[in-house]
Amino acid sequence: MADRWHVTTAGTGTVLAGAVVLALGAFAGRGDVALLGALPLVAGAWDLLRRPAGEVRPAVGPPERSDDEGALRAELRLEAPAGTVAVAVGAYRAGLPALDALLALPDEAGSGSVERRVPLVVRTVRTGPQEVATVEAQGLGPGLVSASEPAGPVRRDTLVLPSAAPLRQLPLPARLRGLTGTHASRRPGEGGDLRDVHQFHAGDRLRRIDWRVTARRSPGLDELYVRGEHALAEAAVMLVVDSRDEVGPDPRTWAGSRPTRADDPTSLDVARRAAASVARAFIAGGDRVGLDDLGVVRRPLSPGGGRGQLDRITHALALTKPEGWSRHRVRSPRLPSGALVVVFSTFLDDEPAEAAAAWRRVGHRVVAVDVLPRLRTAHLSGRAATAARLVLVDREDRLADLRDLDVEVVTWRDDPALALAVLARSDRRRPGAGVPR
């Protein structure tokens, strides 16, 4: 049988004070004084006799993401022996203020247990694997004069998938592929815009005959004319995420000596959201999207389409994280020919810029997405501000070199939908989407 709960210091003090007053009243022969002491003494003794035994069990249920604001809702379940009137709960997440609460339990007599379920809300700007909450609990007996042993900590982790921001138009690769899709290609085929009207010859389908043109040009039906159309095509897009560094808005945390604040999204959070947004927009448009990671050497996720591919990409993005010291790549990862390459990086070092430049040199259209968060530099001391400025100047030079190499640069912290739409419209000024420069 489990030990009964211990008496709290305040409970002991109350009973002792009551005993002293009762003794004083009894020895002085004063009924009013004795009554004054008897009241807390009787109440305390009655509560102590009913104090529960057993342990309190806290648990946190699986969380659900309820909106795009990053709110995670989970259920806190408290199970305690019958007779428990309240449970003191401590719930915290790494780096965030703790919740300290005293919650009531249903007043149920008997020898079983009582249960209480309370909804918890956690707001997070982070994505990927993370802690929902760690919970500790202590039961309090009748009259709050007895307490259980602290229970826990019980921790619940979850994988927060990156949400996708709505995008408008997207740039297309230099070359479109296939004969199906949603983009008009330059090749003859079916489904696209009118290409020409020509004389019927072997291989043309009968239903392509344009009888009006035929009647106008050849009233005697000596020749037949058919309508030629452009084929449709799909784009192959390769998303390349640079997971080698994860930096927050505060440059003082970049060295790793102090943690990034829990309410600050890191560059990797921005990269995950950006890549998920681009992937969703392309896949919704019927294109094929793949994923590679500059930070690890493993097989990339080949381009594919459909809801399943989007789920695979989103899940892979959520699991992307810096893994130890990154190995320097001798060659840039090989990508499908003609694919649009979208590189998500902070460009704080040369490797992603070199890879982007290499892909551009072999003919890929490359969009470099700058995922460095908006920095907080106002609070930096003189030396730290100078160091941050030097790093940022170096980065700006790197991005300028990329622009010179015809790599299109988009900054995600501004208005990425507008910047990508501008890139997409720049396609249309050329003769047809997908024509190489």
Binding site: P40, R73, L103, L120, L144, H379
Partner: protein
């Protein structure tokens, strides 16, 4: 901007961060519970009639009452707040019996002060206390309070300072009862009352 100002700004930013939150639970701040315990603690000497005491004894009693209320405010976990009741008892012994209405008030205030002190002992200033916790405590306490008021009425009718028949027996019984209760309570008490974490 100086480094101190920058540090203050950073600290202010961090204060805005929200951690785990409860949803759909009506709560009171722990500071309000502690304030209520202090107010009720101050009412105990008032209800006991400390204002009618004069001289050095009055000054000593007032000083002790203030000390206990301060302890109740800053260290509620120690349980010293309940000892205000001892001061009230001493006032009754020294100053003589009080009118019936004052005895009724004193019983009510002492009971509420004890409940509030026990609740305040389990909460910190930043604790969110569900409203149902004090409400349930009051719901459980009212029967005992009614019984105490009835007993107070009987005591007042008999005469608070009039010795009961067989007073010696009552004294021995009270002493034995107190000793038995302490033997039950003290072994169950912890020298160190472990906090939640």
């Amino acid at each position: 901007m100086s480094d101190v100002l920058r540090a203050l700004q950073a600290a202010r930013d961090e204060d805005r961060v929200r951690g785990v939150e409860l949803e759909g639970v009506r709560t009171l701040p722990g500071s309000a519970v502690r304030a209520a315990a202090v107010v009720l603690g101050l009412l105990v000497p008032v209800a006991a009639g400390f204002a009618t005491m004069r001289g050095s004894v009055a000054a000593l009693a007032d000083g002790l009452a203030v000390l206990l209320v301060v302890l109740l405010l800053v260290r509620p976990r120690t349980g010293w707040g309940a000892w205000l009741m001892v001061l009230a008892a001493v006032r009754l012994l020294v100053g003589g019996a009080v009118p019936a209405w004052q005895l009724a008030c004193l019983l009510l205030v002492v009971h509420l002060a004890v409940l509030a002190a026990l609740l305040a002992a389990r909460v910190g200033p930043g604790t969110r206390v569900e409203v149902a916790v004090p409400v349930a405590a009051l719901r459980r306490a009212w029967r005992l309070q009614v019984g105490a008021q009835a007993a107070g009425l009987v005591v007042w009718l008999v005469g608070p300072e009039r010795p009961l028949p067989g007073a010696e027996v009552w004294r021995v019984l009270a002493l034995v009862g107190v000793v038995v209760l302490l033997l039950v309570v003290l072994p169950a008490a912890r020298r160190v009352d472990r906090d939640r974490w």
